[in-house]
C-alpha cells in the first residue's frame, strides 16, 4: 500500500491514493442520493394525499418512451462498466468506442426526453404556465414533480455525458491509463447513479397508475 502511494507520486506532486479518490466520489454520490431522495419523499407524500390525480397523471405518460429510455440507460451503464475492464486490460481503442457509445446513449435519452416534454408542452403543460397552475391541485403537483424530477435527472444525464467525454480526452492524452484508471471509475460511478435514479423514476411515474 505504502509503496503504491509512493510509486504514484510524481516529484513535487500531491500523493494520489486510489481508495481515498474512490471514497471521495462515493461521499459526493451520497449527497446526490439525498438530493433525489428528498424529491422522492415529496412524491410519496403527495401521491398519498392525491391518489386519483397521480393515477390519472401517470396514465398520460408514454410507457413506451419511458421503457425505451430505461433500456437505453441500462445499456449505457453496461458500456461504461465494460469500458473500465477494457481500459484495465490495456484495450484503449475498445475502451474509447465503449465510452463513445455511452455518450451516444445519453444523447438518445435526451432526444426521447425532449419528444416527451414537447408532447406535454403541446397540451399546455408548461412549468409555471397559467394552464398548469390552474389545474386541480393534485394534477398540478403531479406534473410539477414530473417536470422537476425528470428535469433534474436530465441535467445529470448531460453532466454525466460531459464528464465521460472529458475522461475520453484524458485517456487519449495518456493521463488516464491501464495503471491509473480511478478517474474513469469515478466518472462511471456518477453515470451509474444517473441510471439508478431513473430505475426508480420510471416505475413511479410511468407504471404505477
Amino acid at each position: 500500500m505504502a509503496e503504491h502511494i509512493a510509486a504514484a507520486t510524481p516529484l513535487g506532486g500531491h500523493p494520489k491514493d486510489y481508495h481515498a479518490a474512490k471514497m471521495g466520489m462515493w461521499l459526493f454520490l451520497f449527497t446526490e442520493i439525498l438530493l433525489f431522495g428528498g424529491l422522492f419523499l415529496l412524491y410519496a407524500s403527495y401521491r398519498h394525499k392525491f391518489p386519483q390525480a397521480f393515477h390519472a397523471g401517470g396514465q398520460t405518460l408514454d410507457v413506451f418512451l419511458g421503457g425505451l429510455n430505461t433500456v437505453v440507460l441500462i445499456t449505457s451503464s453496461l458500456s461504461v462498466a465494460l469500458s473500465i475492464t477494457a481500459l484495465r486490460r490495456g484495450e484503449l481503442t475498445r475502451c474509447l468506442w465503449l465510452l463513445s457509445f455511452t455518450i451516444a446513449c445519453a444523447g438518445a435519452f435526451m432526444v426521447n426526453k425532449t419528444i416527451e416534454w414537447m408532447a406535454k408542452f403541446h397540451h399546455g403543460l408548461i412549468p409555471g404556465s397559467e394552464h398548469m397552475l390552474g389545474l386541480p391541485q393534485g394534477q398540478s403537483i403531479f406534473y410539477g414533480l414530473y417536470f422537476a424530477m425528470t428535469g433534474l435527472h436530465g441535467i445529470h444525464v448531460i453532466i454525466g455525458a460531459s464528464v465521460l467525454a472529458w475522461v475520453m480526452l484524458l485517456i487519449r492524452q495518456g493521463k488516464v491509463t491501464a495503471e491509473d484508471y480511478v478517474v474513469l471509475e469515478n466518472a462511471g460511478l456518477y453515470w451509474h447513479i444517473v441510471d439508478l435514479v431513473w430505475i426508480y423514476l420510471f416505475p413511479l411515474f410511468y407504471l404505477i397508475s
Binding site: F30, F40, A44, H48, V71, A81, E185, L196, Y200, I208
Partner: protein, 103 residues
C-alpha cells in the same frame, strides 16, 4: 475476450470484471425491466406499488453491487453506503408515517 490477460496491479484494487459477467448482469437488468412493465399491466391493488418498488430495488442492487463494483470494495466503503441508504430509508419512512396518519 482476453480473460487470461493479467493486469499488473496491486491486489487491493480488485480485479476487473469480465465482459461476459457484466453482460450477464445487463441481461438480468433487462429481464427485470420487462418484468416490471408486465407486472404493472396486472391489477394487484396496492401490491402493484410493492411489486414496482421491489423490482426497482432488485435492479438497484444489481447496479450497485456489480456495475458500481461495491461487492468487491472494502468493508469501510460497504458500511458507508449502507449507512447512507439506511438514513434515506429512515427519512422517507418516518416522514411517511407522519403523513400517512395525519389525513
Amino acid at each position: 475476450m482476453t480473460d487470461t490477460h493479467e493486469v499488473p496491479h496491486s491486489k487491493d484494487q480488485g480485479h476487473a470484471l469480465s465482459y461476459r459477467f457484466l453482460t450477464l448482469v445487463w441481461l438480468g437488468l433487462m429481464c427485470l425491466t420487462a418484468l416490471t412493465i408486465g407486472a404493472a399491466r396486472i391489477d394487484l391493488g396496492y401490491l402493484n406499488v410493492v411489486a414496482a418498488l421491489g423490482i426497482a430495488s432488485a435492479k438497484a442492487c444489481l447496479v450497485i453491487f456489480f456495475f458500481m463494483h461495491l461487492k468487491y470494495e472494502n468493508r469501510l466503503l460497504k458500511g458507508m453506503v449502507l449507512t447512507a441508504f439506511v438514513i434515506l430509508a429512515i427519512a422517507i419512512g418516518l416522514t411517511f408515517v407522519d403523513v400517512g396518519y395525519r389525513y
